[in-house]
């Protein structure tokens, strides 16, 4: 049950993450966040920047929009510019719309206003310009061309009417617009239909010719765009005045009017700077809701809420002002339940503020969101009859029930989803922030804030008996704590307490200020909620205690994934607390490694992190083989960074699509959770060195399977170097130590290793180095004995103790072990206390003979197996297969076992048994090439038999064994691809 090597699972993890980038689970992972964004918060709003950028790029496919979005995310200055230009444009547009409205109104109502011809012409011209703009929007060059011609024709008319040669500014502006658009379209040429592109080219030439006439004016327009807009702006202002007049006339009780107004307000607001606009809106709000606070009824607030909620996702709704509006509403909410409902909307609106998957929520919004969550919890604590759930469809008027209502009030909402979103936003900020900046540290300090909310939510859920959800929340808390060693945990605890004392003042001030501002702007909240929920996290004394408490809750009520993740976190925490045995037992008894490849990627990453930490822990405890077992698979692919999600490695062989890269970036661990890669590498290589060096010394003749292929490869590379410089990185150090150890020079090996910088990262550095020293001495002794035992007849214990600086009993123990395990053919001479060597070393020929004997028995065995597989019965008259009796056959068994595993790995999709069989016969055939005879054909027979069994017709391999093996290999490859 308990073995410390569990690489297969790991290998599968790595393949799960890396070699199948297009596997369904990845796709699912890719889809999940998008779903998430759609799910809880509803349809995403079209971001403001997006709609405006359409002007520029005429993006009509979603992906393009996304790119745009990205750009605008990254370069905020370009965004700003865009904003200005947008402003201009929308002004013109608005103006147009308004006038159009006016026109139709007039025609509808039958009022005929006599207008001057000049105005009429101007009007017409404007409409043409607007048509052009529309055409630009959809990238329709054909209609653009038509409009342009119409515009030119119209120009003559206008000139005639105006009786002046002066060209209207509007015309010039249109030209500028066209020119810009043309340049833009030229710059990023996109696909156009043939007619479209023809029109485009024609347009280009015409415009060029046309613009020459108005060159200076265009120039002027570019230099002083304001002067060209004066008239428009004037018109605009007038419009707004009108609106405001209307507003003031509007009655409070007319919500539709309010809706229309606020919509208009928002629309018109876009051309104003933010602040101005907000104040304007507030004014608006105040007008309606402040005018007579007593008159505000539940209905008004409810209607207003619905309307704001409905505005989500509509073009031209600012996300931030939506939050503002809703926050305002919370203050005027009439009942606690209503307040709660609105708060939920505020929170989801706050989540909406950042539309992108890659970016994160602004920190201040996040903090406000935390406050809101706390407020929600306050309400829930204060009014225990309010129930939050998603299952019951609440009544229309459910929230109308006041604080004194006795029955339960249902409010739709999902606290856990909010909390999880809050957590992932926090995680994302840390991902996106440069870890070397102060921002990162500041952000990390917000962790207790989240922990408070999580703790309170969990308490609440436990109180109402929703233990499943509580387990989920507990997992979130666990995931914030599990990677913290006790020191860091203490620091966090201290920080949390400090913020209460010193930080409180600052917060309070800020809060007061905030409050003050709020008070100035709005009425005092109708529903006053005292702070009942604690605002300060409580931490048990040690991380272990906290983990244990949360764990027991999760194990009892969590679902499978929660439990698995919690278990992994638990193991991780045990590992960093240097409790290897506990961590190992937990891992083995939970059988997590069996199912890890079925888990989602982030859990797989967590698993890899656990394995890495377990390896470090084992190393610190001096358990070299266990540590090696844990780490070797992580390093076998050479993509540790990716496996641990601590950075992206460029792969030489296949390019990643941007999609994949983005996904990968989203999986990255924040810096403070990283496992030091250098330390990990050093640990792995040192373990491999301690195992591999004696192993290499022991097997000079027979090529025993290397314990660590990675290490062997590195060693080969370093041996190929013509000039060996002083070691620079971790790898060089270990290689230098290996060279020393190979010669039995334990002092040098240790001094090289101990000169590594990374040891200072270890808590008990002296202890670990002491352990390492001892292990190096031991292995040096073993290596020495393996290499030079053939040169000695006898060797005294005293000499060995002085050579390797070990105690007598230690040397005695090590040597005795080697004797018992028949690694060393020698025995003690007790009276003189020296080792007497037996000259049992085989000659090269004898060694080869043994190998041949082994291989022959494998061959026979595989033949018999093949026969059995064919006939289904055992071979009669043949003595039962020798397995596990006698030293010789055990040796043989080992050989074959190794082979099975290596073949199994090569074959990939074959079962171990058949893989071994095919490999065995193939190998036999290969061997027979040297020794052609009757056996040769049998070897080939074995191979072909196997292939027939697999349903593959392969003729011709039967006669020549050598051929057989070649085909086997190529076949394997074919299968693998």
């Amino acid at each position: 049950m308990k073995t410390a090597t569990k690489h297969p699972a790991l290998a599968r993890v790595s393949s799960g993450i890396l070699s199948r980038p297009n596997s369904p689970d990845l796709a699912a992972a890719a889809a999940a966040p998008e779903l998430q964004s759609l799910g809880p918060v509803g349809v995403k709003e079209q971001p403001l920047t997006m709609s405006s950028s359409r002007f520029w790029t005429q993006g009509d496919s979603d992906s393009e929009e996304e790119e745009e979005e990205l750009e605008s995310e990254q370069g905020s200055d370009s965004d700003d510019n865009g904003g200005h230009d947008d402003g201009k444009r929308s002004k013109v547009q608005n103006r147009y719309l308004r006038t159009e409205d006016d026109d139709s109104d007039e025609s509808d109502s039958g009022h005929r206003v006599v207008r001057s011809l000049r105005d009429k012409r101007n009007e017409e011209m404007k409409s043409i310009v607007d048509q052009m703009r529309n055409a630009m929007k959809i990238n329709d060059w054909v209609s653009l061309q038509e409009s342009f011609e119409k515009l030119n024709k119209h120009l003559e008319k206008v000139a005639r009417v105006n009786e002046s040669t002066e060209v209207p500014r509007m015309y010039i502006k249109a030209l500028v617009l066209l020119e810009d658009f043309l340049a833009e379209a030229l710059a990023n040429k996109r696909k156009m239909s043939s007619s479209n592109s023809k029109a485009f080219n024609a347009m280009r030439q015409k415009l060029k010719k046309n613009n020459k006439q108005y060159e200076d004016q265009i120039q002027k327009c570019r230099e002083h765009p304001e002067s060209f807009e004066e008239d428009n702006a004037d018109g605009k202002d007038a419009d707004e005045d009108e609106e405001e007049d209307e507003d003031s006339d509007a009655e409070i009780e007319d919500p539709e009017k309010i809706a229309a107004d606020s919509d208009e307000g928002e629309e018109s607001g876009e051309d104003e700077p933010w602040v101005k606009k907000l104040t304007k809106k507030d004014k608006l709000m105040d007008k309606q809701l402040l005018k007579d606070p007593s008159e505000i009824t539940w209905d008004i607030v409810d209607k207003k809420l619905k309307e704001i909620v409905a505005s989500r996702g509509k073009k031209g709704t600012g996300r931030i002002e939506r939050v503002e509006q809703l926050t305002f509403l919370t203050r005027v909410a009439k009942t606690p339940a209503q307040k709660l409902e609105i708060l939920f909307h505020v929170i989801s609106a706050q989540f909406d503020v950042n539309p992108s998957l890659l970016g994160h929520m602004p920190v201040n919004v996040w903090k406000k969101c935390v406050d809101n969550m706390l407020l929600v919890l306050d309400i829930l604590q204060q009014y225990p009859n309010i129930v939050v759930d998603t299952t019951v469809e609440p009544d229309e008027k459910e929230t109308q029930k006041g604080a004194d209502y006795n029955g339960t009030i249902h409010v739709t909402g999902d606290l856990v989803a909010f909390l999880e979103r809050l957590d992932s936003e926090f995680f994302k900020t840390l991902q996106c922030t440069d870890p070397y900046t102060k921002d990162y540290v500041l952000r990390l300090r917000d962790e207790p804030l989240f922990l408070v909310v999580a703790q309170n939510v969990q308490d609440y859920l436990e109180r109402i008996g929703n233990l499943k959800a509580a387990a989920k929340v507990a997992l979130r808390r666990v995931e914030l704590v599990y990677y913290k060693p006790q020191e860091v945990y203490d620091a966090m605890r201290k920080l949390a307490e400090q913020t209460e004392d010193s930080g409180e003042d600052g917060d309070a001030e800020a809060g007061d200020e905030h409050q003050a501002v709020d008070d100035n702007r709005g009425p005092p909240p109708f529903v006053v909620i005292p702070e009942v929920v604690p605002r300060k996290p409580t931490f048990p004394d040690s991380g272990r205690v906290m983990m244990d408490g949360l764990m027991s809750l999760i194990y009892k009520y969590g679902d499978e994934r929660t439990k698995a993740r919690a278990m992994l976190c638990d193991i991780y925490h045990h590992a960093i607390s240097d409790e290897f045995a506990v961590a190992r037992d937990l891992l083995l008894m939970s059988h997590l490694q069996d199912g890890v490849q079925l888990m989602d990627i982030s859990s797989q990453i967590l698993f890899n992190r656990v394995m890495a930490q377990l390896g470090l822990c084992a190393f610190k405890a001096g358990l070299i083989t266990e540590a090696h077992g844990c780490l070797t698979e992580l390093y076998s692919t050479g993509r540790v960074k990716e496996l641990l999600a601590q950075g992206v490695q460029q792969s030489r062989y296949h390019e990643k699509t941007p999609e994949q890269e983005r996904l990968e970036r989203r999986r990255q661990m924040p810096y403070h959770m990283h496992i030091n890669l250098e330390l990990l590498e050093a640990t792995h290589l040192i373990c491999a060195m301690l195992i591999e060096v004696p192993n290499m010394a022991a097997s000079t003749y027979d090529k025993r399977r290397p314990m660590s292929k990675t290490f062997r490869r590195l060693l080969e590379v370093s041996e190929r170097q013509t000039f060996v410089g002083p070691p620079e990185n971790v790898r060089d150090h270990v290689m230098a130590a290996t060279r020393a150890l190979n010669k039995g020079d334990h002092q040098k090996a240790f001094s090289v290793i101990s000169s590594l910088e990374i040891w200072k990262l270890l808590r008990n550095k002296e202890h670990v180095l002491e352990m390492l020293k001892l292990r190096i001495k031991e292995e040096a002794l073993r290596t020495y004995l393996f290499s030079y035992s053939s040169c000695y007849e006898s060797l005294s214990l005293g000499q060995l103790t002085t050579m390797f600086d070990l105690s007598e009993s230690h040397v005695h123990g090590v040597v005795s072990k080697m004797m018992i395990q028949e690694e060393l053919h020698a025995s003690w001479d007790q009276p003189t206390s020296c080792i007497v060597f037996h000259s049992v070393d085989q000659t090269r020929l004898q060694g080869l003979l043994f190998q041949m004997a082994d291989k022959l028995s494998v061959l026979v065995e595989s033949n018999e197996r093949a026969y059995e597989a064919k006939t289904g019965g055992t071979l009669e008259g043949v003595p039962p297969r020798r397995r596990g009796d006698g030293q010789d056959s055990s040796n043989f068994g080992k050989w074959q076992e190794n082979f099975v595993s290596s073949q199994g790995r090569q074959g990939g999709n074959r079962s171990g048994y058949s893989g071994g069989r095919g490999g065995g016969s193939g190998q036999g055939g290969g061997y027979q090439r040297n020794d052609r005879g009757s056996q040769g054909s049998r070897g080939g027979y074995g191979g072909s038999r196997f292939q027939d069994g697999r349903g593959r017709n392969q003729s011709g391999s039967s006669s020549r064994g050598g051929d057989g093996i070649a085909r086997m290999v190529s076949l394997n490859r074919a299968v693998r691809v």
């Binding site: 005795s816 003690w828 026979v860 009669e876 008259g877 049998r938």
Partner: protein, 439 residues
Amino acid sequence: MGEHDLTAAMAAQLDRHLVFPLLEFLQERQLYKDEEILEAKIRLLNGTNMVDYAMDIHKSLHGTDDVPADMVARRAEVLARLKSLDAAAAPIVSFLQNPQLVQELRPDKQYNIHMLQERFQIGPDQIEALYQYAKFQFECGNYSGAADYLYQYRALCTNSERSVSALWGKLAAEILMQNWDIALEELNRLKEIIDSKNFSSPLNQLQNRIWLMHWSLFIFFNHENGRNGIIDLFFQDRYLNAIQTNAQHLLRYLATAVVVNKRRRNMLKELIKVIQQEQNSYKDPITEFLECLYVNYDFDGAQKKLVECEQVILNDPFLGKRIVEGNFVTVPLRDEFLENARLFIFETYCRIHRCIDIGMLAEKLNMSYDEAELWIMNLIKSSKLDAKIDSVSGTLIMTTTQVNVHEQVIESLKNLNMRTYMLAKNIVEPAQAAQQAAR
């Protein structure tokens, strides 16, 4: 003295009544103060119906004749309950006490129930009463009566849950009556049920297995064939898992059993693997001895541990069972253990030595020089040891058997020929037969 005492860990997994023998043993060994043990006994008895016994202990503990009022009250309560249960179970008890009537029962449960209902008006209520009555008897310390009733109850009951608990009760009763053969039977029956039954949670099953193992210690260290039995039971995968999960202290008994049992030497390797895995959660001199000897090859350490082992065995209620022969008090297990352990050390020592000083050997084996020489001579004579004594220098010289390389190669290739021949024959013959048939 009591540092390696497992009583506390064991008692948690045993029935109240089963703890008494352990406490008796401790009292005898005087590992703890008498008062402490008596106190523990009283607390133990509080949960049972053996009120009189508790009163006696109380008297001897405090040296007075006064008995606390609650004990007196409890006594009355117990008596009253006994009466009511007696009355409830009377019909079926009287039925069962009549051998002729019992003869009429058949193996068919349905028939029995039907028959009882028809002829004696004994319904399920009475049968249930029998169970309660038996349980009460057990609580009162009347084990033989409880065992009988429980046996009868099992023949009649239809509730499988109840049947299992009746079986546990029977097992406890038999153990307390020291009927080892019957107890072993019950143990096996219970084991089958535990292994085959579907438990609501694996945790339950694990707990049941652990109980079973603890209870079985009584049997295995007293039954004549117990030493094989314990190895067979504990080395089963599921039970070994249970030990490793939640009852690591049982390794002591397993280790002792393996050391003592000459025929199960092959289990040693597995045992050592387990001991090594669990060394963080459990160790005592016995496991450490094996670790010293077979993991670290530290012979001096093993020697030291062996001395400690003796104490541990003497202080263990299961291992340190005494047998009084005439004036001698012997602890057979201790002698066997020490003998075998010495042999282990010696064997391993010889395997890696070419030449050993007999004087040193004698010292290590706690024998005089002559004794040691005699012992070694006997070993050589019985061809257990392949060595010669060099009496001039006082050393033992091992004869190393060098297997000739050629022999090895030939040995390994010997039967390949035959196997291949058989293979060929088996292939060719059907083919020829087919050809002939085709002709």
